[in-house]
Subunit: 645 residues, 2 copies
């Protein structure tokens, strides 16, 4: 058994995900606040420091931790570079500070400390060999003061001086220091925390009915999308669509002549994951679209759907990547008794898994090299968790700008696991959180549990796969309130654009699916139309752009409102340079009113004259000078977004 | 980066202390219930098993875990041997069970599954090579059924049969199984959980005033102590007491002629930690005392006080184990501005620490070899945590029967740390938990947090060091209620015997210390005296001996009682073969009454006719047939200890 002579124990370090098995997440400029239990034996003075560095840096930076009492210590650091940081804690019994502390206590007790001064010479000797040239004469003088008899009075003054204290702090000998294990942070660019997504099907982008949309058409939509304040345009898969077992309109199993198929059924004789559906355009046109978007501060996100149509070239070229049935045919995807005959899954248990993984990495990198830095990953929960960890790590090694959004609507621990394994952002249950208590409960889980360290939610009111019951046949107020909730609760949000904006909410009977879903057919949208929703979305998106409080998710506090249909919350940025208060009427039919209690942190800013609440949508301002304030919200404009001044 | 092809993730295993850095604790026969998050990708059937073994065993035993939903799995095992156990979790996608599950779903959906039967042959082949001889013909027959055309009906019946299911469960192929890290359990003998301590100073054991007690006198006290139902007798240090700077009566700094000194100031020219104070007797007499005690099912606990008086032989023989001041004198113990000139601490930071540690281990083992299996460790929090971990581990390697009680009354995390590092039992804050809400809060922390896995509290109403304010000048009812609380709340308890039993509670003014403390002088007790407290302690100790519900700490539930002076709780053993309900009046002056609500678990046992509550002290019985029951408790007998029948 090892003999460990250290006297300090370090444990219970937070943040820490699953004993350090996973990175916590931050974006550039964010703070990591670290807590740890640090304790020694006896009563000696202990010092602890937080050490951190970017993995690319040679040495650690150090910041001394603050003793919060009860053996808990705290310090923080800011992350400034993309990539991986590590942090750890070092702690020791500080004999020099302990010596000073002892002298102070004895002097207060009127004891003579000559012997203690002599004992202190060893600490001065250590300083002498380590302090900067500027301080060396002081230390040398002190040494003499301490050693001589007739300078006792002066010596004890200096022994307990702030100057000596500060030297001890700055030049610790760290004898028998103990160092914790290293923990990791993955640092992304700011978009990981703050992004506003607009999804549309490029094949429906044409400005005339009956025509297959092209990248050129997509390019024409960019000014409209930019004007609305979106900064990510996400396109469903742009690859050739399988022809074998192609799905027809409304998810029928037999496509008719002219049916365009499902973009997620990737691959045909025209190519696979590395190819572009010819009717959308060429690689050059895609590149032009990407560049045009980028020039408007919009990024293009593509879809990674790692599955194949039965006629995907992989199937003949790499049969070793698929599972065969005993009769020699391909094993289609199934979830018994359901069968998905237009899809063949990769067989991740194949012995040839290495070449499969490498190919999927190469596919991803091909699009990265074309200028794609964001991927929405289709059904990641049906591929192995460790595969994603590997793929995301490898891609980020080559390009740390790349972000991955996990499209998993699965069980809580599965969704959490994908985020732990490396997904930058994750779809969330927001889509189904409708009532006040559900929203508060879910936000509390996201922002008050460990999830806040690794799970970056992206709030989508709808997707092509999900037409939630509360939006089916819903009125304008319901649509607005769902958008406001997403836009103010969460740093990241997205809409399946035209369908949401134009409130096309017909559903397959009894199901949360769109009727005549765009997944199975080309649509025509009159993109010249604008409505009230268009304008409110626009104002909200621009409010998000100018308010850091809305560019993050975790700093949120719900307010007491005495009406179950009114939800209100307070948000702020880390530096508290920006603060907003949001009040939303969840009843899309009737006006609701009630008393709202300001949080203590806001009340503390009254300074005798109250606060100006400036509504960022209507431009009205109100003076709130009481703890409880009357609010009334009408479905015509079912929310207040107050900037607190 | 490693490519991990496994499809199952295992995490969040509990119990687990600080990421597995420390052992959880159990006594022989206890259960370890293990939970873990186990999840895969997609919808395939997953199996998880708990593996466990005593470190001395060659191979792991396995028990299949139960799926509790939401990706949480559970299983348990019993520990049967002293020493260390390890446990871990193994999990895999079970293709055979998944195949069977798929066939079932498809048959329910009226699909033809001939191809699936053929697919199943691979799982039968695996079984054929692995099942016992008894099942082999069945598997061979099945293989033929599945392969042939005209036996389809019979084949599908067998494919989904329980028999085949059970074979798949019993003989899993575990392909691509993932295995968690190993976690540890330290298993002690039963006394670690259930012990009743009586402390007295052997030098005060004489039956005449003015005489120094001896081991022979101690031996004469054993029948009395045994009759009261105690099973551990703990003696303060029995070594020669320092003569240099000896403390006088009432902790004065200058002893007078004839002052006997403090037993914890160990060492003089007569010897040190390996020697016996000559006036107590010889090693042979100590051995006789130990053996006599053992014959009455009483164990003798000695004190490990690792510190030296200034005249301890170590100081001249091993100056390298101590710290010198600049003037060459020994560094006395201090906690500035306080000085403890009768004590010199070991210098654990010495370069010679290895020989120091080895000597302290040898000292401990010397007493173990003499027959001592329990140590009360004095002030362990003033010696390094890692030292204790090493010492306790080494001693237990040689003799797993040895138990260590940590005498640390320090900050919560320090006390917890000592328990994590290996102390079998720990003194607790019970000594100062007086009011109902304090007691409930403290018990909740001990039994509902992680502490329940590693911190075994020992409840002491008083010690020679602590004469708590509520016992100073307190009446009989207060003494009884403090003993009842300790005896029923906690598996382990102890009293500083004669002082508690005879209610000698004079204090140093304004301090929680005894006046004329026995620490500084020899006392005379008339051990022939018995009082009401003697009899109630006796009855309680025997109730503990016959009621497993009282031989453990963690199974406890507090009951709602509508009176803040009445505290009530329900306790049970793991198997629920024994259940008690305790009601205590915390007001030592007045009768208190109120309505008590039975816990749901007790109500569930009513079966239409209520329950018999048998008071183990008065022998009265009551029928309780309602959820709420009236109780009244008088200070004359300030509690009910009901056995629930």
């Amino acid at each position: 058994m090892v003999l460990r002579q250290q006297r300090v124990v370090i444990e219970n370090i937070s943040p820490q995900i699953q004993c350090g098995a996973f990175f916590i997440k931050r974006v550039i400029g964010e703070k990591v606040t670290v807590y740890a239990d640090v304790l020694g034996d006896g009563h000696d003075v202990i010092q602890a420091e937080l050490q951190f560095k970017h993995v690319g840096d040679k040495s650690f930076k150090e910041v001394r931790m603050v003793d919060l009492m009860n053996d808990v210590y705290k310090a923080d650091f800011n992350v400034q570079k993309k990539g991986e940081y590590v942090y750890r804690i070092r702690a020791w019994v500080d004999h020099a500070l302990n010596w000073q502390h002892g002298i102070e206590a004895k002097l207060k007790d009127h004891q003579h400390v000559k012997s203690e001064l002599l004992d202190g010479l060893q600490y001065l000797d250590y300083l002498k060999n380590n302090v900067s040239a500027k301080d060396k004469p002081y230390v040398t003088d002190l040494r003499q003061l301490f050693a001589e008899e007739d300078t006792y009075q002066k010596a004890i003054e200096e022994a307990i001086s702030d100057r000596l204290h500060q030297l001890f702090i700055n030049y610790p000998s760290r004898s028998l220091a103990n160092t914790s294990k290293e923990l990791g942070v993955i640092v992304d660019r700011k978009k990981a925390n703050f992004s506003t997504w607009y999804e549309f099907f490029p094949r429906s982008a044409a400005n005339k009915e009956g025509i297959h949309g092209t990248f050129k058409d997509c390019e024409n939509l960019l000014p409209r999308i930019s004007k609305m304040g979106f900064d990510v345009v996400y396109l469903p898969p742009i690859h050739p669509i399988g022809e074998v077992n192609r799905k027809g309109k409304n998810n029928t199993t037999n496509a008719e002549e002219g049916d365009s198929g499902v973009p997620w059924a990737i691959g045909s004789k025209l190519g696979g994951h590395r190819s572009i559906h010819p009717e959308l355009g060429t690689e050059k046109e895609l590149k032009s679209f990407i560049e045009k978007a980028n020039s408007m501060d919009i990024e293009i996100a593509l879809d990674l759907a790692f599955q194949a149509a039965p006629d995907h070239p992989y199937i003949s070229e790499h049969p070793e990547w698929f599972r065969k049935r005993p009769d020699g045919t391909m094993q289609y995807a199934e979830n018994p008794p359901k069968k998905y005959q237009d899809i063949v899954n990769f067989y991740f248990e194949t012995e040839a898994f290495k070449s499969l993984w490498e190919e999927l990495l190469a596919v991803t990198m091909q699009w990265v090299e074309l200028g794609i830095n964001i991927f929405r990953v289709d059904n990641p929960h049906t591929k192995p968790h460790y595969f994603w960890n590997w793929l995301i790590t490898e891609v980020k090694k080559k390009n740390p700008d790349v972000l991955f959004l996990a499209e998993a609507f699965s069980r809580p621990k599965v969704m959490q696991q994908l985020a732990k394994q490396g997904f930058t952002q994750s779809y969330s249950y927001f889509t189904w959180r409708v009532h006040k208590h559900e929203i508060i409960e879910y936000m509390t889980e996201l922002t008050q549990s460990d999830m806040k360290e690794y799970y970056r939610p992206n709030f989508w009111p709808n997707t092509p796969d999900i037409n939630p019951y509360h939006l089916q046949g819903a009125n304008e107020a319901m649509h607005i309130s769902r958008y406001v909730l997403a836009a103010t609760l969460c740093g990241n949000l997205g809409i399946y654009g035209p369908v949401f904006e134009y409130m096309v909410s017909d559903a397959m009977p009894g199901r949360e699916e769109y009727l005549h879903s765009e997944k199975y057919e080309i649509k025509y949208w009159d993109w010249t139309l604008e409505n009230k929703l268009t304008h409110i979305i626009t104002r909200l998106n621009f409010a998000r752009k100018s308010h850091p409080a809305l560019q993050q998710t975790n700093n949120i506090q719900f307010c007491e409102v005495q009406n179950p249909q009114l939800i209100a919350f307070y948000k702020w940025d880390d530096e508290k340079t920006d603060q907003v208060l949001v009040v939303i009427n969840l009843d899309s039919n009737y006006s609701q009113r009630g008393m709202l209690q300001l949080p203590e942190d806001v009340l503390g800013q009254f300074k005798g004259k109250g606060l100006t609440m400036h509504d960022l949508i209507t431009d009205n301002s109100y003076i709130w000078a009481d703890e409880w304030n009357f609010v009334e919200v009408h479905p015509a404009l079912p929310f207040h977004l107050f900037h607190i001044k």
